[in-house]
């Protein structure tokens, strides 16, 4: 009987639309997962992340749980692609009884909406996919990143473009409505010009724009542009490729991990989704034990291969939090924060996570993906120095 009750409670709590927090069973380890699951282009990153996190929690529970048999209970809260909704979700999460940590979000703007509430409540918030390296500085000591920072991925892209592909001139397009995209452009331009490259033209737009015809015409009329760096989230990623290619422009398109979504192939179609390079979180090319274990488990659980690197990031985030709980030997948020900050070597699927003293952004390898006629392939993996 008790077992059935417990399973029922588990099912209720893990359901996506859990509208209220159930009183937790005393021995459970409560973790809140805040993701955009029902609205907007970010769902194509957030849903895989959430599935990855839930998979890891399930695997840990199946293997006997943590701290001598205590189970992880993941409460997923939908943040509905809305920063106000995200702040409300965070408020609800931190008021849950015995919450150990919060995880979630694939975008800096949304992480910034949630994390400060965790900071105030002195509960750690570990983001699985928000990549601004400034996040811990802006939020405080409860903020941890599982992915690399945007500086790392933008620098890797700039170096790859200039050194490997021999591109000397670029146009830079920026979605100026997102913290992620404005930061990414800044770091890309900084490294690309430092290498000797030139930014010939810059253009901006906002996340909700769907008509890029004016920008495309301007790009077309600018002489000598070698490539386009499109700093964009998943909402506009596919649309940009489609409209640039339909205008007959064949130049390479570069982007960050906001392009790691199937929309870049489905929206323009296989024929037009060509000559695109984007950076993302390494795991595709990694043939390590954890990476293979993840791939097999994901396929078994969800009946398909991981959609993108964000599935692996969600999985890693849950793993990292569980590792910190084990090292802390307690579910006290303060002890868990301390253990997280002291992470020296956690073997994640997307590369080893280590937080250097006082920093809460890991230095991890960057995968450079190449899209050819609708097929996304790993081109190379770049490991940042230092």
């Amino acid at each position: 009987m008790q077992n059935t009750m417990k399973r029922l409670a588990l099912a209720a709590v893990t359901s996506l639309s859990a509208a209220f927090a159930l009183p937790a069973l005393a021995q459970d380890i409560n973790i809140a997962a805040l993701y955009n699951v029902s609205s907007g282009g970010l769902t194509s990153l957030d849903v895989p992340s959430l599935q990855g996190a839930q998979l890891k929690a399930k695997m840990i529970n199946d293997a006997g749980g943590l701290l001598g048999g205590r189970k992880i209970v993941v409460t997923a809260i939908d943040t509905k692609n809305d920063t106000g909704e995200t702040a409300t979700a965070a408020k609800r999460a931190v008021s849950m009884q015995g919450l150990v940590a919060g995880i979630g979000q694939s975008d800096t703007t949304f992480a910034l909406a949630a994390a400060p509430l965790f900071q105030t409540a002195k509960i750690p918030f570990v983001t699985s996919g928000a990549t601004s390296p400034d996040l811990p500085g802006m939020v405080g000591d409860e903020m941890f990143l599982v992915p690399f920072g945007d500086d790392v991925q933008a620098h890797a892209m700039a170096e790859y473009a200039y050194n490997t592909l021999g591109i000397k001139t670029v146009a830079v397009w920026t979605d100026n409505a997102m913290d992620y995209t404005t930061g990414l452009s800044k770091y890309f331009k900084e490294r690309f010009t430092a290498l000797g490259g030139k930014v010939l033209i810059e253009d901006v737009y906002t996340t909700t724009d769907q008509d890029f015809s004016a920008q495309v015409a301007r790009l077309q009329s600018t002489e000598g542009v070698g490539a386009l760096f499109a700093s964009s989230g998943p909402d506009t990623a596919g649309i940009i490729i489609k409209q640039v290619r339909e205008a007959g422009l064949k130049l390479p398109i570069f982007a960050g991990d906001g392009f790691d979504t199937d929309l870049i192939v489905t929206v323009p179609g296989k024929e037009l989704s060509d000559n695109v390079y984007f950076t993302t979180h390494a795991y595709v090319g990694l043939d390590t034990g954890p990476a293979n274990e993840f791939r097999t488990a994901y396929k078994k659980e969800y009946g398909k291969d991981p959609e993108n690197a964000f599935a692996a990031l969600g999985y890693d985030t849950m793993g990292l939090v569980a590792d910190a709980i084990t090292r802390a030997g307690s579910t006290d948020p303060v002890a868990v924060t301390k253990a997280l900050a002291e992470t020296q070597k956690y073997d994640a699927v997307t590369g080893t996570i280590a937080y250097p003293a006082g920093k809460r952004v890991p230095s991890k390898p960057v995968a450079i993906m190449h899209v050819e006629k609708g097929t996304v392939k790993l081109d190379t993996t770049v490991t940042p120095k230092g």
């Binding site: 029902s38 609205s39 907007g40 282009g41 769902t43 194509s44 849903v47 692609n81 100026n176 409505a177 033209i201 810059e202 253009d203 901006v204 737009y205 906002t206 909700t208 724009d209 769907q210 008509d211 015809s213 004016a214 920008q215 015409a217 301007r218 077309q220 009329s221 909402d235 596919g238 649309i239 489609k242 409209q243 339909e246 205008a247 007959g248 929309l263 489905t266 929206v267 323009p268 179609g269």
Partner: protein
């Protein structure tokens, strides 16, 4: 800046304007006949895009058939909304209808999010629509030409219908004065239903065009184009069909040229520009370009 660049921007404005014009017509027609700003109009545009997706993906209909299906679905949804939400409150103060239209809009959007999920979707477009047409150095696709031509054909047909057919005359009479029209034996409810059906069918076709051109549709895609078409209708003069068409083209052109001719750093403000233009028009020409001053009907 050279001629070819300017020409391609003008073409872009024309294409965008065609879609705005089609949506704006519905706003204007419905306002003209029931004095109602129907904020659910942008959602009918969304329904049109999803009807396109469904008829291509599920029954693999050829494109002309898809067009017919979308027209019918749009008209049916328009009629349904009118019957369910607006007819019961006929005669209520204007603000009631306005609030009801907001409610309908929110219901449609949330139903869409619940049923089809908010993940952006794509649909396969027949290859011939994506063929490149050389047009004096312009890079134009078949779909672009189809959008402009189809919009113009539909608009001419509508103007002829309203001007010369018996139903058209009856609709205009209804817009002029309910009581006198009723005395002439005109079925007011039927005329209002027709206005909703035609306006909604055109918005649904605009949704088809938008989805085919930009390749990505989602339940909330209609919000911004819907609001912009409302701006277009106001610019042209709410209540006037030719005004709505004119407003649509003026707005589409102005929006593209705003992005295309000003320095790139202003491109991000295109929506601010559109709604700024709305305020300006309301201040300078409260009745729009072709609108008549609308005295309150007794």
């Amino acid at each position: 800046m050279n001629g070819a660049y300017l020409l391609s921007q003008v073409a872009n404005g024309l294409i965008l304007g065609s879609m705005y014009a089609l949506i704006a017509i519905g706003f204007s027609m419905i306002y003209g006949i029931v004095r109602l700003i129907n904020f659910a109009h942008g959602d009918i545009f969304t329904i049109g895009a999803f009807a396109t997706l469904a008829s291509i993906a599920v029954i693999q209909a050829p494109f002309p058939v898809v067009l017919a299906i979308v027209l019918v679905v749009g008209a049916a949804v328009g009629l349904l909304i009118e019957r369910a939400a607006f007819r019961p409150m006929r005669g209520a103060p204007q603000v009631t209808g306005f609030i009801a239209s907001l409610a309908v809009s929110i219901i449609i959007e949330n139903l869409a999010v619940l049923t089809v999920s908010a993940q952006p979707r794509t649909f396969a477009v027949p290859a011939y629509l994506n063929r490149l047409i050389p047009l004096g150095g312009l890079n134009v696709r078949m779909i672009d030409i189809a959008i402009v031509l189809l919009a113009i054909i539909l608009m001419i047909a509508l103007v002829l219908f309203v001007r010369f057919t018996k139903i058209g005359v009856a609709m205009r009479a209804t817009a002029e004065n309910y009581d006198v029209a009723r005395l002439m034996g005109i079925n007011i409810n039927r005329m209002i239903g027709i206005a909703f059906a035609i306006g909604s069918a055109l918005a649904a076709v605009a949704g088809l065009m938008w989805g085919t051109k930009y390749g990505q549709i989602s339940p909330l895609m209609g919000v911004l184009p819907g609001l912009k078409a409302f701006v277009a209708a106001v610019i042209g003069g709410v209540g006037s069909i030719t005004g709505a068409v004119l407003g649509g083209y003026v707005l589409g052109m102005a929006e593209v040229l705003f992005v295309g001719l000003l320095p790139p750093e202003y491109s991000g403000y295109r929506n601010a520009f559109v709604f700024g233009a709305l305020i300006l028009v309301l201040l300078v020409m409260p009745n729009g370009i072709l609108g008549r001053s609308t005295e309150q009907r007794a």
